[in-house]
Symmetry: C2
Subunit: 215 residues, 2 copies
DNA sequence: CTTTCAATCACGTAAACGCGCCATTTTTGC
DNA sequence: GCAAAAATGGCGCGTTTACGTGATTGAAAG
């Protein structure tokens, strides 16, 4: 443990909220917020020009100009080690999804009491993620939606093996050579695959395999 | 609010832990655990035969026979309204990923104190998700890995359009008909796509398009 | 014990494919 | 205004594919 305080950078366009939050953070003995900005552009250019390297970035989504989600990739580039915590009134799935995909470590709602925000910062510093249980639930739901149940077409092992090689773009001849079979046998397996997947072209088979995670 | 207690079903092969947990749950005034099983098979058949409809299922992953992850789809089918909370010693990414994709609402480690487990059950009942912050962090990381930045091969609009049709499994002739072009033109576009994607077969192009989200 | 099914191999054919090589026109960017 | 890039169209050739129509073997299931 060093004596250094944790350096927090804040990007938030609402002036009163920004000042309140800065004060609350600075009243904490191990947290420090020296840099607070009202737009993503200001924050990013300050980071770049003054070489800031915050430990944590608290980021609003509803910013004028560049919004918070768009800002995340730039932050990741300028200070890859910084943890980003989204702090917003928008709790719709789309924003949550985009923020999480872009690399946020936390997603807090502004109506959370200041102590919760401080606690979340500490959790993130300890390597955790900060979200309330309802946001967490949304994240899990998003996951489940993305992870459509892998289709099941009763492919045999051999068929799956050959389907994988088809996805790799190999021809019958190449597949036959790869697994030491006759081209005719490979052909036969491919026919069975087509029949089970109900397709008539290689492309459709490959597309179906990838879309429905058959491998 | 009904006077009914929340019905919790437990599947856990470790007898002592199972009994401890059952006792702790039943000592809670609004929770009830009447059904505890030592295997997924026992639990599932009891649900099916006796028509159980638990509100929450606490599910171990490291079960003999069918494991917890495999069990989830069956639970979803037999009692679609039940919330599933994974309770396990395994906190590796693969298990977390599979459990979350399969539809778990929570992921707890067995070393959590019983009070935490009770609290998590309450959170899930309130529509939240139950995980500690480190598990949550892993989930977010998984998200970010899945959301790899879409590849960029400078495909033109026309090329993207045709690539989409290739993914749909259409032949040159069908594509030409679909967008009112000569087969030769389509052929020409396909060549350019191959060249940009650095592939030489339709399958590889389709695979690359889907794997790297080029559409 | 027989039937089903996976896995293996075979021949032939019409259609589709990948590619070399080429030309014209339109759009885009400096 | 001009060069680069994109979009369009064309011919030919050797290869590959999809599919019809078979066969044999061995293992699993009834």
């Amino acid at each position: 443990m060093t004596a250094e305080k944790t350096d927090i950078l804040l990007i938030e366009d609402h002036a009163i909220f920004r000042k309140t939050l800065t004060r609350v953070i600075n009243s904490h003995e191990r947290l420090s917020c020296e840099n607070a900005f009202s737009s993503a552009e200001d924050g990013l250019s300050a980071i770049e020009i003054r070489g800031l390297a915050p430990d944590i970035v608290l980021l609003d989504i509803g910013l004028p100009g560049m919004n918070g989600v768009q800002c995340i990739p730039h932050l990741k580039r300028l200070c890859p080690d910084a943890r980003i915590i989204i702090l917003t009134i928008h709790d719709d799935d789309d924003n949550i999804f985009k923020a999480v995909c872009a690399g946020a470590s936390g997603y807090l709602l502004k109506d959370a009491p200041p102590e919760d925000i401080i606690e979340s910062i500490e959790l993130v510093l300890q390597g955790g993620a900060a979200m309330n249980t309802h946001i967490a639930r949304r994240v899990l739901n998003l996951f489940q939606e993305m992870a459509a149940p892998p289709g099941d077409y009763d492919l045999t092992n051999r068929e799956q093996e050959i389907l994988r090689l088809l996805v790799d773009g190999l021809s019958k001849k190449q597949i036959a050579a790869q697994i030491n079979l006759s081209q005719h046998t490979v052909d036969s397996h491919i026919r069975n695959i087509y029949s089970k997947l109900e397709v008539h072209t290689r492309s459709s088979a490959v597309a179906k395999a990838l879309k429905e995670r058959l491998l």
